[in-house]
């Protein structure tokens, strides 16, 4: 705007002050001079101008401060040529400004207004970003697969553990069992059947592959003992009396012949005047249970 400044300095002669070039120079040397035309009230706030550029410029107008000029320009509104022209130009500026701001704030037109090299750069950045996200996705998918596999394995192990627990529970007598087998009833009217005969029967059944045995409501397990007890027999401390009813789960075709072999359990019992009846069945329920007992001394040596 320097050309503007010089030009207007020359162009605008001050009519009120009547000062030309010489008058200006004179005034610069005599800063205390009070212009006759200007009202005293306007002159009151006159201060040394802090702006060095403004100081250097000869002031052609009345001794108004910039602030007063601004106020004068703003109020009262005057319809002059200058004001109208400036208004038109400022209208253009405001219009352009608003349009640009509006079009810039739309997200898609931000791309539309971009230069070709900017677009190429944005595209490259997007490609990079896509690549990175793709890598990340692949890594996460791999992680997910691993987790799924491991959880599958854990589930499988859990199933196997439950299955094993069930099998061991049948052996230990902590769970009920059902399946094909036989029912053997020993009717002992004379009271001649003793514990060792029943033990023989149990041993025979075990040898023939019996998987779960109960005698008169007492589960027979690995640690079961039998003892004579008065007229009856004590099984693990539970006294039972004749008739002795064995419920055995196992393969019936193996169990029954094992009991019936010559010189075997049935013949020995019948020699003692007891009556033995054996029935095969496809569905024997062994539901006598035994509390799981924690061994006092023995500890598992595997893991």
């Amino acid at each position: 705007m320097s050309d503007h400044d010089e030009k207007t300095a020359e162009d605008r002669g001050d009519t009120r002050d009547g000062g030309g070039e010489s008058g200006d120079r004179l005034r610069k040397e005599l800063p205390q001079e009070v212009p006759a035309a200007a009202p005293a009230a306007e002159e009151a706030p006159k201060e040394p101008e802090p702006e060095p550029v403004a100081e250097a410029q000869p002031d052609p107008g009345p001794r108004l401060t910039g602030r007063q000029r601004l106020v004068q320009g703003l109020w009262p509104p005057r319809v002059t040529r200058a004001q109208l022209i400036v208004a038109v130009l400022l209208f253009g500026l405001g219009f352009g400004l608003a349009v640009q701001v509006a079009s810039n704030s739309d997200s898609d037109s931000a791309l539309r207004g971009a230069r070709q090299e900017d677009l190429v750069r944005i595209l490259d950045e997007l490609d990079d970003r896509t690549q990175r996200l793709e890598d990340e996705k692949r890594g996460l998918e791999q992680q997910r697969d691993e987790l799924e596999n491991s959880s599958d394995q854990a589930e499988e192990a859990r199933k196997q553990t439950i299955e094993k627990e069930r099998q061991l529970g049948i052996l230990a007598g902590t769970v009920a069992a059902q399946g094909p087998g036989i029912t053997m009833t020993i009717v002992d009217t004379k009271g001649t059947v003793e514990a060792d005969m029943l033990l023989d029967a149990i041993q025979e059944l075990r040898a023939a592959g019996a998987e779960a045995i109960q005698v008169n409501g007492v589960r027979v397990v690995a640690g079961t003992y039998l003892a004579d007890s008065g007229k009856g027999v004590s099984v693990d401390g539970n006294k039972i009396n004749a008739p002795y009813r064995f419920k055995v789960i196992g393969k019936p075709q193996d169990l029954e012949p094992a009991l019936n072999i010559p010189g075997g359990v049935v013949q020995t019992l019948e020699k003692e005047q007891a009556t033995v009846t054996i029935e095969r069945s496809t569905d024997i329920v062994v539901d006598a249970l035994r509390a799981a007992k924690r061994p006092d001394y023995a500890r598992s040596s595997s893991q």
Binding site: P60, R67, G73, L89, L90, G94, Q100
Partner: protein
């Protein structure tokens, strides 16, 4: 006052009408706006200095806009459009700041 009204009316009209900017003008509009802002600040300073002249203002306003657009156009043709428009914006920004400083001294005396 009329000038300020013109600016306000322009902004309002631009916001209300929301015209589609023609593709040809699009790269030059932001630079032109900044150049016009520079001219307006210069004009305001000149007014405060008491040396305002409407003819000079019109010429400087229009020439600022045209030259700024021309520089950007030339930069685009030369393949340095982005850098050149950055340069133009920087230069105009410096001028706007110095003009604003002069205006501030006038208005606030500080």
């Amino acid at each position: 006052m009329i000038a300020v009204l013109g600016l306000v009316v322009g902004v309002v009209a631009g916001l209300l009408v929301r015209p589609e900017v023609p593709a040809v003008v699009e790269p030059y509009l932001p630079i032109a706006v900044v150049a016009a802002l520079d001219a307006v600040f210069g004009g305001l300073r000149a007014m405060l200095d008491g040396i305002f002249d409407d003819k000079v203002f019109v010429v400087s306003f229009l020439s600022n806009v045209v030259v700024a657009a021309l520089i950007v156009f030339l930069g685009d043709k030369l393949g340095v459009g982005a850098q050149l428009s950055t340069g133009v914006v920087v230069v105009l920004g410096i001028r706007i700041f110095s003009n604003a400083a002069a205006i501030r001294r006038h208005v606030f005396r500080a």
